[in-house]
């Protein structure tokens, strides 16, 4: 099953055929600029980001974010770049399937 959460317009159909390589699970500081920092990193370094889910944690000072990434060769480089962002507190790498996307996809 191919799962896509935030689609990028016209690319949607093409995405259906591409496997999701990995899901990155991040803990980030929760403030209005964090999403820009993460998305900006992916767009300016030309990394394929297929899906994002983000929810605030506990007291709201931090958030948890899951990123669906479609890059095989660049994956290690992506993780290093994400870890460099001062607002990113932790990064965990998962394989392709992650229940969070499956459950959200069921709602779409």
């Amino acid at each position: 099953m191919r799962i896509n959460v935030s689609h990028k317009g016209a690319e949607m159909e093409a995405i259906e055929d591409k496997p999701v390589i990995a899901v990155l699970e991040l803990i980030v500081n929760n403030h209005p600029g964090v999403m820009s920092h993460i998305c900006g990193l992916f767009s300016r370094r030309a990394y394929n980001l297929e899906g994002i889910i983000c929810i605030p944690l506990g007291g709201g000072l931090t958030s948890k974010m899951w990123l669906q990434v479609n890059e095989e060769l660049k994956l290690e480089q992506i993780i290093k770049q994400v870890q460099k962002l001062p607002d990113v507190l932790n990064v965990i790498k998962h394989g392709e399937g992650h229940p969070v996307f499956a459950e959200v996809a069921a709602l779409v």
Binding site: G33, S36, H37, K84
Partner: protein, 563 residues
């Protein structure tokens, strides 16, 4: 209990960071900060004439001292103007803290007067940035900004402060500690041992010293390392000065405008040790053909640089100074006589200059003459273009931080304000700016700042009345179709400088150039000299953009080259 407003708090926190100078321009949205700054006795304000100039003055201070420097700009156009200088600092990893005024929080997002999304625009060109939402946050954000700017791989940090946050009152008990560079560790010891073993077994290693060596203050260690292992050492543009140019193992710059012998040696090396360098395309040429037969050891404090462009056989992630200290005792003493002799022969066969090129009337000769006349401890700033590459090729740099140049971003207009910054930070030293007529015109308004501050900056305009490097590429790669790169009018730079109140002189045909240069360097305060240079003077050798470093055009004895 300390009570003050946000603007006063910012200035106090900057004083506690030992900031002595702030370059900037006031405007509506940062006026509270200027009101607070005018009461500071510890901080001198340097009024620039364009915010980009202010950003580069801060860079000049930071690059020449290694300490973080600060610039101020107002919201809207002030912020957009300063961003080029911030992007430049990002590409060259320079610790600059830029504090911009922003419209009041209640107006953000309403297209208020002089409102732009400074935070959003600065994300991709800063190491980190902040939009301050409450006055209390300043107590953590300002020290954190300095810690981030200085730690690990340095870089610029931008802090956007809405006007109401500057005006808001705050009371607090305890001052935060100033932000400082965090201590960094050497690379993993097992990896260091493996690296030492690989180096000891290498027959034809080359060491490449990048800007990271200078940021880490590791030039001393690099020299001992190279000498103990008998390892010929090249430098990136940002690394020039880390090994003295006249050192027997020094190969000068690598890449697009390297000495032919340096690129040839790199093609033949069996081990490439990159120390604080990042495999920029101007240095490596076509990356797939760079050092084709070599193993790669990559030392960098930024893990994301290692294997970004060329896969490293051994990755040494950590502080390069600490790593070199561990490596030195593990290194076998070795003269590498055969390899050094082979490179010596290449150097003899393909010298950078010829006797005809080093007369003072020619670019190389002029640069060498000035190097000869300069006092010890002087600084050299350049702009971007042919003059920059000629300086990089032949100026005998002998210490870290001696050269201030825009490497990664290649920003024309960098040189003059950066030279002013270096001169402000080192009032007892000579600062020479090599610039071109194209570059100087990009921040020419800072002549005014130079006069106002009476800085000891000597400006040498290598004037070919064109955008020389663009012209050279059109000449070589666009069928000699010279378009939009030759200026159609002659500018009288001497008259312009005099108009700003600066002493200035022209080099006339047949004049005694060395005597004129001596007079100029002896003048107190800033001074400009305009030197006409032939348009046809090109920068050679040159690797065509996108080609392998083994493909070089021009330079001495190019015809004797087999490839």
């Amino acid at each position: 209990m300390n009570t003050m407003n946000g603007a006063q708090l910012i200035i106090k926190l900057l004083e506690r960071q030992s900031i002595e100078r702030i370059a900037g321009i006031p405007g509506g949205a940062n006026l509270p900060m200027y009101d607070a700054l005018c009461r500071s006795t510890a901080i001198q304000h340097i009024l620039c004439r364009h915010e980009q100039g202010a950003g580069f003055v801060a860079q000049g201070i930071a690059r020449s001292t290694g300490r973080a420097a600060v610039c101020f700009a107002t919201s809207g156009p002030g912020a957009t103007n300063v961003l080029t200088a911030i992007a430049d600092a990002y590409l060259d990893s320079i610790p600059v803290v830029c504090i911009t005024g922003q419209v009041a929080s209640s107006l953000i997002g309403t297209d208020a007067f002089q409102e732009v999304d400074t935070y959003g625009m600065s994300i991709p060109i800063t190491k980190h940035n902040f939009l301050v939402r409450t006055v209390e946050e300043l107590l953590t954000i300002i020290p954190k900004a300095f810690e981030l700017a200085l730690s690990g791989r340095p870089g610029p940090v931008l802090i956007d402060v809405p006007k109401d946050v500057q005006a808001a009152q705050i009371s607090f008990e305890q001052w935060p500690d100033p932000g400082v560079r965090k201590d960094e560790n050497p690379a993993n010891i097992e990896a260091l041992r493996a690296a030492a073993d690989m180096i000891n077994r290498a027959k034809r290693p080359i060491l490449c010293l990048g800007g990271g060596i200078i940021h880490a203050g590791a030039a001393g260690e690099a020299k001992i390392f190279a000498e103990k292992g008998g390892i010929p050492s090249t430098m990136t543009l940002m690394g020039l000065g880390s090994l003295p140019a006249n050192h027997p193992l020094a190969l000068g710059m690598l890449g697009m405008h390297a000495a032919r012998s340096t690129n040839m040696a790199l093609q033949d090396c069996d081990l490439f040790i990159s120390a604080g360098a990042r495999f920029d395309d101007r240095a490596t040429g076509k990356i797939a053909e760079f050092c084709p037969g070599a193993n790669v050891i990559h030392m960098d404090i930024d893990p994301s640089e290692v294997s970004k462009l060329k896969t490293a056989h051994i990755a040494l992630v950590g502080d390069v100074k600490a790593s070199l200290k561990v490596l030195i005792p593990l290194l076998a003493e070795n003269d590498r006589t055969a390899w050094c002799k082979q490179i010596g022969l290449l150097k003899e066969m393909y010298p950078m200059t010829s006797p005809g090129a080093i007369v003072p009337e020619k670019p190389y000769g002029l640069i060498l003459k000035i190097a000869e006349l300069l006092e010890e401890g002087s600084f050299v700033s350049t702009d971007v273009g042919k003059h920059q590459m000629w300086v990089a090729q032949v100026f005998p740099f002998e210490r870290s931080r001696q050269l201030l140049t825009s490497g990664g971003l290649g920003t024309m207009g960098f040189g003059l304000p950066a030279a002013i910054g270096a001169a402000l930070a080192h009032p007892d030293k000579q600062v020479v700016l090599f610039t071109g007529d194209g570059s100087l015109q990009m921040n020419i308004q800072e002549l005014s700042t130079a006069i106002e501050q009476q800085v000891n900056v000597k400006i040498i305009v290598l004037n070919n009345n064109s955008l020389g490097l663009v012209r050279q590429q059109q000449n070589l790669f666009y069928n000699k179709n010279i378009f939009a790169s030759d200026f159609q009018i002659d500018i009288d730079f001497v008259m312009i400088a005099k108009g700003f109140g600066m002493k200035a002189m022209n080099v006339e045909p047949g004049c005694d150039l060395p005597a004129l240069l001596k007079t100029m360097l002896a003048e107190p305060g800033p001074c400009l000299i305009n030197v006409p240079i032939g348009r046809e003077e090109e920068v050679y050798p040159m690797v065509p953009p996108g080609a392998s470093n083994s493909v070089m055009l021009g330079g001495c004895n190019a015809d004797k080259c087999e490839s």
